[in-house]
């Protein structure tokens, strides 16, 4: 990390994390919609199905964008290091992973307690999609909260 030419790669690595977080948010949205589809009647399922398809296609578009981004912005010899570029944004992604893991565990424990006490069961599809929505949603939202523009912009000058 001692060359001037590496900073565009460092900035590109940060941008890659933002794109990844947007993709994860869209996948979480898709899962939330899929969970909602289990609970609503047939006429509404059709609309939710469209919304789910839009979210999924948008996520796929971002995956393609990430692939193109990597090959256009990062020289071949830097690609391996690009995935492991250290900095604030990568640190926040790890913190977001920890928050996501905790929220998912709590959600699954809550489902277990509720089902045990009520002696009822929810469709497995609902449980799975809700857990996925929580996991992906908490990751992306906490990532965006930690990376929102704030006081650090005010000290940009020399």
């Amino acid at each position: 990390m001692n060359s001037t030419s590496q900073t565009p790669i460092a900035e590109a690595a940060d941008q890659r994390w933002y794109l990844l977080a947007v993709m994860v948010f869209l996948l979480g949205l898709r899962s939330a919609i899929a969970a909602g589809m289990v609970l609503v009647d047939q006429p509404y399922r059709r609309y939710l199905g469209w919304a789910e398809a839009v979210a999924a296609l948008s996520a796929v578009a971002i995956v393609l964008l990430l692939v193109v981004f990597k090959f256009v912005r990062v020289p071949r010899d830097q690609r391996r290091r690009f995935l492991d570029m250290e900095g604030y944004v990568k640190e926040t992604s790890l913190k977001a992973c920890r928050a996501s893991w905790s929220a998912t565990l709590l959600t699954l424990m809550l489902f277990t307690v509720v089902f045990d006490e009520q002696d009822t069961s929810m469709p497995p599809e609902f449980v799975l999609q809700t857990a996925l929505a929580v996991m992906l949603g908490v990751f992306s939202v906490s990532f965006f909260v930690m990376n929102r523009s704030s006081d650090d912009e005010g000290v940009a000058g020399a």
Binding site: M1, N2, T7, A10, Y88, V89, N147, V155, A156
Partner: protein, 71 residues
């Protein structure tokens, strides 16, 4: 561990060397956001980044970073 805080003098050194955050980031190979969050104390840099900063300014790491006892 004691109630301690990592403080730094990066902004002072940047001013002395007439460097913007972007310039400094470019010279040590990190993003501008990483420099700005280190400056305001939101991000504790790795040993590698701390050493790169020290090397860029030509001073020991201890002149840039110090531990403040908050108690």
């Amino acid at each position: 561990m004691h109630d301690i805080e990592l403080s730094n003098r990066i902004r002072v050194f940047r001013a002395e060397h007439k460097l913007s955050q972007g310039d400094l980031a470019a010279q040590i190979g990190v993003s501008r956001k990483t420099i700005s969050t280190i400056e305001v104390g939101r991000f504790v840099p790795s040993t590698v980044i701390a050493l790169l900063l020290a090397r860029r300014f030509g001073v020991p790491v201890e002149e840039i970073f110090s531990l403040d006892d908050r108690s």
